[in-house]
Symmetry: C2
Amino acid sequence: MHKTILAAFLLGTTATAQPMGDAQKAAMLDAAVSSAEQMAWLKDFTAGPNHVDAPHNRQNADTIARMFRDWGWQVKMAEYQVLYPTPISTALELVGPVAKKLGGQEPGIAEDATSQNLAGALPPYVAYQGDGDVTAPVVYVNYGLPADYEALARRGISVKGKIVIARYGGGWRGLKPKLAQEQGAIGCLIYSDPQQDGYGSADTYPNGGGRPPTGVQRGSVVDMTTYPGDPLTPGIGATKDAKRLTRETAATVLKIPTLPISYADATEILSRLKGAPVPQEWRGALPFHYRFGGSDDVKVHLAVKSDWSLKTVRNVIAMLPGSSKADEWVVRGNHYDGWVFGAADPLSGEVAMLSEAKGLGALWKAGWRPKRSIVYASWDGEEPGLLGSTEWVEHNLAELRQKAVIYINSDGNGRGYLGVDGSQQFTSLVSKVAGEVKDPQTGVPVIDRWRAAMRAGAFEGRRIDPDTLAAAEKGGDLPLDPLGSGSDYTAFIHHAGIPSLNVGFGGEGESAGSYHSIFDSYDHFVRWDDPGLAYGAALSKVTGRLVLNIADADVLPVRYGPLAGAARGYLTEIRSLIDNRRREDMRRAGLTADMYKLASDPRDPIAPPVAKASTPMIELAALDNAIAQLEAAAKAFDGAIAANGATLTEAQKAALNAKLKGIDQALLSPSGLPFRPWFRNVLYAPGRFTGYGAKTLPGLREAVEERRFDDANREAGIAAKAFNDYADRLNAAVGAMR
Amino acid sequence: MHKTILAAFLLGTTATAQPMGDAQKAAMLDAAVSSAEQMAWLKDFTAGPNHVDAPHNRQNADTIARMFRDWGWQVKMAEYQVLYPTPISTALELVGPVAKKLGGQEPGIAEDATSQNLAGALPPYVAYQGDGDVTAPVVYVNYGLPADYEALARRGISVKGKIVIARYGGGWRGLKPKLAQEQGAIGCLIYSDPQQDGYGSADTYPNGGGRPPTGVQRGSVVDMTTYPGDPLTPGIGATKDAKRLTRETAATVLKIPTLPISYADATEILSRLKGAPVPQEWRGALPFHYRFGGSDDVKVHLAVKSDWSLKTVRNVIAMLPGSSKADEWVVRGNHYDGWVFGAADPLSGEVAMLSEAKGLGALWKAGWRPKRSIVYASWDGEEPGLLGSTEWVEHNLAELRQKAVIYINSDGNGRGYLGVDGSQQFTSLVSKVAGEVKDPQTGVPVIDRWRAAMRAGAFEGRRIDPDTLAAAEKGGDLPLDPLGSGSDYTAFIHHAGIPSLNVGFGGEGESAGSYHSIFDSYDHFVRWDDPGLAYGAALSKVTGRLVLNIADADVLPVRYGPLAGAARGYLTEIRSLIDNRRREDMRRAGLTADMYKLASDPRDPIAPPVAKASTPMIELAALDNAIAQLEAAAKAFDGAIAANGATLTEAQKAALNAKLKGIDQALLSPSGLPFRPWFRNVLYAPGRFTGYGAKTLPGLREAVEERRFDDANREAGIAAKAFNDYADRLNAAVGAMR
């Protein structure tokens, strides 16, 4: 056993706390937040390559630790030894119909200072693909997702023994090589179609923020939908002496060589492909007619060899110990490692978090003592697979499940609207804070800008959820969307059952075009993403307020109506899904091979869809009842807080906090989700076939989607039990207020 | 007064008619239809440029006339003197930021024989734009339709004094310069974005049928939504001595110079434009980020000068006189003039029609005599503005209104599915014929292929109208969509109130990419559009059967349920339109300028939508009642035919035919449609702001759309009266069967 996190810190002498009002604390926080300072930090942090184990990344960790210490925080490095492959060599060549060398490092440009100094930067690659050296014909597979392979099969096109080329988008990057290898492909290329983040979305850098023809999106392809973190130590911290799997037995390491490429390189391949034209929805924005390929006309040589040694990730963990409720923790984090310089992703979020830390430090120095303990984590190794945060959570699982009342995450940040996803019991708190912080461009509270955007957007024809629009029109709360994956909240909410939020501004910046490339630089960021880091400061103010409000609340600032409402909404969606599936199944059953033969173009024939098991009715009554229980309990709780919250005795408050502590652990499935027991939250998960995108009531929903109907019935029961438990605990909390 | 059409023919001696069964007639028709012969005709007809007044076009008319005569038809040339401008000179240059000559004739390619011999072909131009010589900055206006100008205005962008560049699509070509000149633009360019018919839809010619970078779509921009035909003689035949407007007073001739250009040329302009980026839905498939332009950075010089002299159009009118019902005419037509060679458009349809004519001639020679008179028209001057057909209809209006029982049109034809639009009382006849003719590629009746395509398409996610899908699933009739404009049925159905059908195969050919360019050639057609003219033969068999069935029926083969059902459906749509408008108006009223200021990106601000008059309730009760009357009468009629049709006496049949004669004249509005009295059909019209696309219940619908609410109430009343009249006439026909 390792020492507990709290014990690992040398507690400061408990000076007599200076009582401070909310307004005073917020003013001191805001006074410490400086966009100019964030710009200086960002420039320094992005001066060199920041991948795991890079000298400049290690230097940033030391700098961050020193800054926290300077501001009065207690700081520890939490280090883990993880499998993190880096390329020894990568090669990509067109070998037919013409020979042409492709791939290699992205070329820099004069308008972007750091892009001209790439010493020590890794070439474009994806982490955790397999070593290999293959030459084969190329097949274009669109996004490379299951529906795409169904479409290929119906046209008689196999990728067995071929190299697939998939475009980014439609689902998480790592699913593309994973599905390709399952389909028998021997290699995989992933390119950035300009439709997604090049000239189809913005003018190309440096004229705009869009991805230039030579830009490449690096990334991880570790199978994090099975489990994130170090592939060799699932479920446990990757300490020096941890029991490890071998690379060969680690389920999340892929087998086939895979490279990400630019659209300049992709054009060399795709424009030469023969075969039938692809369906309309497979076409990107490159200026030619896309074809499937697959014949010997176009062949590619692809080779990747990686250094598979263990590397050290170093999380910088900083703490301000709590006074009256020291064993309740508010955990806040952002990662600091990047694929290259990492200006937008992640350092724009990291510098915002540092401003908060500076503000909280100033408060501490002025004598303020938070009621709850505050833990600020700067994560390492997020990019390859949420390594730092996952290993830390796994390593400290029991303590975190007991003590953490929330995890608040940020990652990249940019110009635009506030977006908050996560545990809906914090909806009203988020909206309160969003009503206090001003939007830098318009000067109104950020929630007002959001409401205006929803209303104007709906009028302009954007698809806005009707409840969301109604909320915007009535001045209601900003709804929190469910969390999938893609950042460091994953282990907290999905594995440990700790309520989590992910916070950031965006929607008007153009960082999509520099994402995971050498152009995610200071120059790009301050020109196209968040000029002057005005939104960096806004993020500090929002997230700092969330931390202050939760840390200092007598009773946790939660309301359960939105959580119960979300569960109800998810069930309604699944009922629709089932109904739609049943209708579709009936229609499919009416289709004949002959019908498709008649319907499809003889020059481009398409076979009928493969037969699928018909969707039966699923047992949802128990789940429906449980959600009704949860709704009733939530209503009782929120009502009791509204009626009595201000007049509770200290004893009642203590009893109430005790009942609420760990209540979200009720959402954890004892068995975890099918195929991936590491994921345990019955309410949300990243989708098995979406990767980053959330699936709600995931055990049930994915079982319906994947036609595992026994699983669907069982998972509905597991979710029902979870909600019943949750309702019971909530009712007990209501009892504590009587 | 001119002589009647019938009197103009020298009637053949009425030999004793040989009675023939339907099967025998169909077999003789089919025996005369030869794809190989159609290919030979097509090759001959497309050997030279075929615009109005071109020597090769005149030669084709003479050839067609000779063929009809050879096959036993009586033939007359019906000639009119029309305003038809041809370019004396066109010029287009980029004058800044670099000087570059653009425009001019499309270059030919080696793989396309006729494209290499363009002597006598007109350069790319659009007919009936204004003469002019202008130099100005360029603004990109998307499709150049009303919504686009609203979007521009909300961004503070004016086209006043500028040259607009619009892409093809979204609405009819002629609306683009018309709206541009209304907005104060001094010139207009229209280009073919590759998204619509270039590499975004098919591989480019000669590798596929898609439009190559140098391909240009010519066309007419005469304001045919006001009235088609000769601009100088609205409503009357353009005979030598007709009373003419001047060009300056003709409402349908535009004022500003306009040229169509290729996407190679458009790239030179668009890729250089400055200003804010355009909205997502404005982007085409060219490989750069589209911007609005409008500044002095990019200037263009545009000059067009036309020869505005009158030209002669020559319709080839051929007749087989009827025996027992000679004063009931079945009119069939296809145009023969093209923009250049015109292989797909229109000669692929013309050669199919000639095969029918040959077959009917063979029947005639074998002693068959049709009960009704058959008139086959080969129209000239369709491309510039439906000149030949419109002048002929206007010239013979009274006689046609009295005698024509149907007009059956075709135009271009291609590989794929049967599509028939038009007067829904012929729905069951069309489906009967579509059940008799085999699809060339699959060997099943064309209606079965259509049904399969609907069912498979619906399953694959294509939007299929629910009633259509239900019909396909139940083996029901192929529904007829309403006719808008764009071919020679226009004057028949919309001005003269003669029931009309437009018939063609398509959906699998790639003639979109050669449309109105030098590449609409024999080589393109037989390679990419209808190889072997298999579908040319299928069209002959479908349309020939329609003619035979109608010409020889004892009682016109009409059923009114589908017509009444269509009217009911259109009213239901308009109720939805009104409901949606009212909701939208309420939402708009809730929007404030401030809300848009908050919602929109300060780097790319968008003003709120302009205030609009709120949509009130419209008086629809009388119209609803009238449609109910029509439905009841239709049900009675169809029921009576089903019950008694086979046992009617000759006297009853004669009485019935007399009652049905001219029944569709009831659909004509005495006043015509608002702003365009030439269009008189209350049930359908080409849209004022769609051009080719149909608007149903157009007087009412467009009044609602354009917020002319007094007009809406009045037009609803006019339509109600028309349907009441129609129902009365139908009930009288039912009476004739008792």
